[in-house]
Subunit: 283 residues, 3 copies
């Protein structure tokens, strides 16, 4: 769509918990743009719940797929800033990631395809960072300069020493328990939809060949039946289960908020089972 | 201001109800930017109240004017995603619009100038979309790819079949009732200003030649007098009426929030009349 | 990092109190981008507390440093829009600033280095503005066009008449009172950190040569000891003092919100003293 020889600016996609009311994200973008290279900062979100590494990790993994090869993801949810925790940069497939080594990239690593190469370094070359590094703002002073260098074409290996033990993400996994699949709510989005930790493939393997209409989900005191395709498949104000766009089983209320209607949020247990009764129809 | 021959990137302006705390807008921007073309995504807002088509339609129409010719507006407030509702793309004057066919573009169409050409298509060419289309995320999988193609120069007619029956916007209009003009509050902004559904031209026609200072507005239990030019025309903490920047009659409180001070929000009735008494001065 | 002769787009960095849920910032970006020049709008934040000039001024000064030379800062916190207050544009060092003359640029001016040149004009050339100027939206109609012109290379002096009396920022300064340094909380960020009005250099001069570990800070009913380097230097849930990334003394709670935990917000007094007792250790 553009003249040959002309190249797009490399993208630096930002995901942080700085809050939309803060100047912090602006300072990071300034640091990215003052390195002299051509790059385009793209805000994914700055509204990850404060210091919630798990939420940030899930959102980062969910948003990764649409970005073009070469994109550098600069992710900062960093309760341990300035302490012992290391910084890292990594290449997974054709994407780069820069941020704190605290599990924030753990979901990306978990989901990395078998055919995707993974290369990780610790950020231990201060000469690449801003001249003065604030002990409370590595997003601006350490991660942004490194992200800009990667966007400008610096090889990953030049950003630091090879690392083979990144901190894993501490997150609950769903598990079989007798006839049930036991999961938890991980996130609530702005619509009040509840994202669980049950990946589409976990659910498919649990269902085996069973009709998805026979799915039963117990959530708090509520009991939902059937796996629907989309919000529009049920009448208004109905609670339903579907596979959400982050790749997980999701509970939603049509035209409303499942979070408020069902009184459930992160941490709530989901018990998934298969209805053995004859009819097998979604209620 | 730039060397001749060099062209600006086409703009894709985004307006959604995804919420600033969500990764959804980021995924849409990734999808826009991975199509290979040169374009610049510009966030209008991702804070339209969830699933509020009316609010989105008003904000879209209000923000349209400043954008340059060729801008593609990608708007997503989409409670019916994945169901029967169609997607559409349209050209109004020199602007393009892409999103769900649910009334979201209705205010733009209502306000289109008599000299503006209007051309509308339904999105029925899946080969233009992302390979896999999630039934819950057409913003990313359907609308973004089409918006990117339009930004890259694809003719509108190539995006789908001609459409002459877009879903109209379901919104209250102001109406004459005896000596009064009866309107409603449509929106509250971040300052607490109340935007009504009374357009400047409706008000002018209602006033006829009468002095705007003789305007009376009853709102809940409150009674406001006179049409002021700007917030600075009244003392602090005063409630006043003016023509807001969205083109509608607006109620504001100087240095405060009309929403909180007057206890009024969307749906509240406004009764507008002309003061017949002698003095005719703003109180 | 890019071919010689190729230049980066000039940046226009935006800081406003429009709120992330509003279309106002989008309209301003449209106005910037419709001037025909090549420029890149960069959102710092649109979440400055409504009409809070002080908060905007502090955040603007804090975020300025990372942006490259030539950046134009378009800042709008403008309770007096449409009234007597003037608009201004200024050049401080290599940065430009455009917005209302109400103190919003006062902190930038206060902190300007002795070696930085300062040049200020009032915006009194309507022929540079949008054709129709709404009395309630100068961000879109006056400031954006001027910012775009400056980004495109127009000399500051061509934007208006020279000004030597910009409205100063009305903000509390910290002061010595006997053996104490008396300050106030200016801002709360999204993590609940409390930013005071005590600049790092004020604190250093107050401490003289004393060990920072002997610092005592009384805040409401709370008493904090020692100046730590970063959030990671104390156990979880501990309240601590450190020098924040905005350049001010900051009170934080490790892994939590000082705002909620200490029950303190903007305006709260801080009494800073030096512990004369023998041990001099952070508690």
């Amino acid at each position: 769509m553009h003249a040959s020889g002309e190249t797009s600016r490399p993208l630096v996609a930002l995901l942080t918990d700085f809050g939309p009311e803060s100047w912090y994200a602006g300072a990071v973008k300034g640091a990215l743009l003052s390195t002299g290279g051509e790059l385009l900062p793209v805000d994914i979100t700055h509204g990850v719940p404060a210091q919630n590494i798990l939420a940030g990790a899930i959102q980062l993994a969910a948003s990764r797929d649409t970005f073009p090869p070469g994109t550098v993801f600069l992710a900062v949810v960093d309760p341990g800033v300035g302490g012992e925790r290391r910084g890292l940069a990594m290449k997974v497939g054709d994407h780069y990631f820069v941020g704190p080594d605290n599990g924030l990239f753990g979901e990306v690593l978990l989901r990395a395809g078998g055919d995707e190469s993974i290369e990780i370094v610790h950020l231990d070359r201060p000469e690449l960072w801003r001249e003065t590094v604030s002990p409370t703002f590595h997003g601006r002073d350490v991660f942004a300069p490194v992200a800009a260098l990667l966007a400008g074409g610096m090889p990953l290996a030049d950003c630091g020493s090879s690392c083979d033990d990144p901190v894993p993400l501490d997150r609950p996994f769903c598990a079989r328990e007798g006839d049930e699949l036991l999961g938890q709510v991980l996130l609530v989005d702005g619509f009040g939809n509840l994202t669980s930790n049950i990946l589409a493939q976990d659910l498919a393997s649990f269902l085996g060949g069973a009709d998805p209409a026979r799915l039963c989900v117990a959530l708090g005191e509520h009991r939902l039946s059937g796996l629907l395709g989309t919000y529009a498949d049920a009448p208004a104000d109905t609670a339903l289960c579907l596979l959400g766009s982050a790749g997980f089983l999701e509970v939603a209320v049509v035209g409303g908020s499942a979070h408020r209607r069902l009184g459930c949020g992160p941490g709530e247990w989901l018990r998934v089972s298969i209805d053995d009764s004859a009819e097998g129809e979604a209620r």
